[in-house]
Amino acid sequence: MNKQREHAPVLIFTYGNPSRGDDALGPAMYDLLESYKEESSSLDKIDLLTDFQLQIEHAVDLEHRQGILFIDASVSCSSPFTFQKLQAEEDDSYTTHAMSPSSVLSVYRKINQHEPPPAYMLSIRGYEFGLGKDITVQAQQNLQQAFELIKKMVQTDVADWGKQ
């Protein structure tokens, strides 16, 4: 398949539906990072991608990377956010309408026959997910705190992200 597109060594992949209340935390972070990219060179070697949800084809987006950070809203993580290293896992998230990051990593491993790059999950706590709702005030605060964390992370080598 076509390999014409160039990849930055690091990928930050946010996901969520912008019109579903706090589910918009992922895309909102994408917007923050896009703006930040214009004022800071620390994102020069980082690709930013966003989508409604994760699916099998996103395994292809992970190719040729040194590190990946997934960012999503979560209804169950601790406030303001949680950060963890991901493992490729066959966790059967096929049973929902979106795959988990671990499951996408697993697809990557199967189709490429080697381990995926180091990958991390930043889950930002959300509270309300109704259609047409705005991001809640509390979730906005969580988003800002998570943004501050990322600004520090991108100053460091991706190999050190696991030490966060």
């Binding site: 398949m1 076509n2 014409q4 996901y15 969520g16 539906n17 912008p18 019109s19 579903r20 589910d23 991608l49 966003t50 989508d51 409604f52 949800q53 699916q55 099998i56 084809e57 395994a59 292809v60 999503d72 209804v75 169950s76 066959e90 966790d91 059967d92 998230s93 096929y94 049973t95 929902t96 309408h97 979106a98 988990s100 499951s103 697993s106 697809v107 199967k110 189709i111 997910f129 259609l131 047409g132």
Partner: protein
């Protein structure tokens, strides 16, 4: 044609089973079954919590936002809503006919999205059932199992899906929330670099698409009688059709045929859809039950989507898909193919047609044209209809003098298939569940019937961590006597 299993005569004292949520369908739905003490099924219903509030979400917004705004209704098929809304707003801005460049760019986008959607459904959501059988160990019966045992097929599924997404990205300008289609046309055409990029892989895509059709035929004929009879129902079929009867998923008139293949109506201007289709309601479901007005609520329900489209059309415009359609029609023996599992076969014929059509369009100089937009006199309403991957999709809008949307009506593909999906699970209940103790494998058969329609029940909020499957058995005293649960990791546990 409605089944007697829709409502039990005496529901009191019957054993109630709930399959919730359904797995490997987009969104959230559940099936409830009522059985008597002999395990005879007395009632079977599919419940879907979806789409309420969509119209309200749209009201009060300016019409020119519609093609972008409606993409947020659904994370599964945003391009379908994008194009249906764009067609409706074409009408509002008085663009009765698009420029060749605009129409072909939109068609290219639509072929890309249908290709990726069908690839996801077959390779990801349904191939585990079809390749391993419906009673395979649940832990293995998933996409990861497919990759383990059929790595080449699974990889092809991923790459077909990726290619379709790339077609969308190039034509819409972005991976998501694309602005490609705008009222009266498109905002960009393709340059040489973009065309060459997509051309680079199209030959491979065609080979894989043909391979997918060959695979589903092999699977279908290996257990022909079973595939023909499983969840089979006799239904009317509804789809768009081109003026000369050709298959067309972007534009055309409405064609409806009955279960014997007789024409109910044909080449109907879709702006008049409400004269031909009514949306019925039932007190046990939030989702409406559309039916063909002239046939009536009891017998006028219909199927939409790949099965209806391939049955309804007179021919495909591309040679490989047309060859496959002719072969497909043989199993109907002169009548429309009614096998619910034939949805998969029809879907892959469409996938092949999409690949062929993309190849044709990439060789068409119009997609590089500069004439992108047409405008006319502003109208107070607009209707847009397309064939989304899952079936016919209706968007209708009324605006006020300031261009603000005052009224919106959407009939989405899955709503069109509502009664048909209910009838299919009743067919399964009659043929496979009656008299049997419920097991995960048996319950999966119910889900297989629903999954064949590729329903989009999406709320796109991906609230994870809920039980993917829970079955409660309740005795005649309404006491819980048995519970079977499938966890998010696929583990089965039983609580008595």
């Amino acid at each position: 044609m409605s089944s007697e299993l829709e409502t039990a005569n005496t529901p009191q004292g019957l054993k109630r089973t709930v399959i919730e949520p359904l797995t490997r369908v987009e969104g959230h739905g559940k099936v409830t079954l009522l059985q008597d003490k002999n395990n005879t099924v007395k009632q079977a219903r599919l419940h879907i919590a979806e789409f309420r509030g969509f119209e309200k979400f749209i009201q009060g917004r300016p019409y020119w936002e519609l093609p972008v705004l409606v993409q947020r209704l659904c994370g599964i098929c945003p391009v379908s809503h994008h194009l249906a809304a764009a067609k409706a707003t074409d009408m509002i801005v008085g663009a009765t006919e698009l420029t060749p460049t605009a129409e072909k760019i939109r068609r290219l986008m639509h072929f890309g999205q249908t290709l990726q959607s069908h690839a996801l459904h077959f390779f990801h959501l349904c191939s585990p059932d079809l390749l391993f059988g419906f009673d395979d160990e649940v832990r293995h019966r998933n996409i990861v199992g497919v990759i383990e045992d059929y790595p080449e097929i699974a990889t092809q599924g991923v790459m077909l899906r990726k290619y379709g997404q790339e077609v969308i990205r190039v034509t819409a300008g972005k991976r998501i929330h694309g602005t490609g289609a705008i009222p009266g046309g498109v905002n960009k055409s393709l340059n040489k670099k973009e065309i060459d990029y997509l051309k680079g892989d199209i030959e491979q895509i065609l080979v894989w698409a043909q391979g997918a059709v060959d695979l589903i035929k092999r699977i279908f004929f290996e257990q022909y009688d079973y595939h023909m009879s499983f969840a089979a129902i006799d239904s009317n079929m509804l789809s768009l059709i081109r003026g000369d009867g050709a298959f067309d998923i972007y534009h055309g008139g409405l064609r409806a045929k009955d279960s014997k293949g007789n024409t109910i109506f044909d080449h109907i201007d879709y702006r008049l859809y409400s004269d031909y289709i009514k949306e019925g309601v039932k007190n046990w479901s939030y989702m409406k039950f559309p039916f063909i007005t002239s046939v009536g609520a009891d017998d006028g329900w219909y199927r939409v989507g790949p099965l209806a489209r391939v049955n309804n059309c007179d021919y495909f415009t591309t040679p490989l898909a047309e060859k496959e359609r002719v072969e497909f029609a043989v199993i109907g023996d002169g009548l429309p193919v009614q096998s619910t599992l034939a949805f998969h076969w029809a879907r892959l014929i469409e996938l092949l047609h999409c690949a062929e059509s993309i190849a044709e369009l990439l060789d068409d100089s119009d997609i590089s044209g500069k004439d992108l937009l047409i405008k006319g006199e502003l109208q107070s309403s607009g209707t847009g209809v397309i064939e989304a991957p899952r079936g016919t999709l209706f968007h209708q809008y009324d605006i006020n003098e300031d261009g603000i949307i005052e009224k919106a009506n959407l009939i989405v593909s899955t709503t069109n298939n509502n009664q048909a999906m209910n009838e299919s699970i009743r067919s399964v209940a009659n043929n496979y569940l009656n008299g049997n103790q419920l097991t995960e494998a048996l319950l999966n058969q119910v889900e297989v019937a629903v999954r064949a329609y590729d329903p989009c029940l999406s709320c796109a909020t991906h609230a994870m961590g809920k039980m993917p499957l829970q079955i409660n058995l309740v005795n005649e005293q309404d006491e819980l006597v048995d519970r079977l649960e499938k966890s998010a990791t696929g583990q089965i546990s039983r609580t008595r």
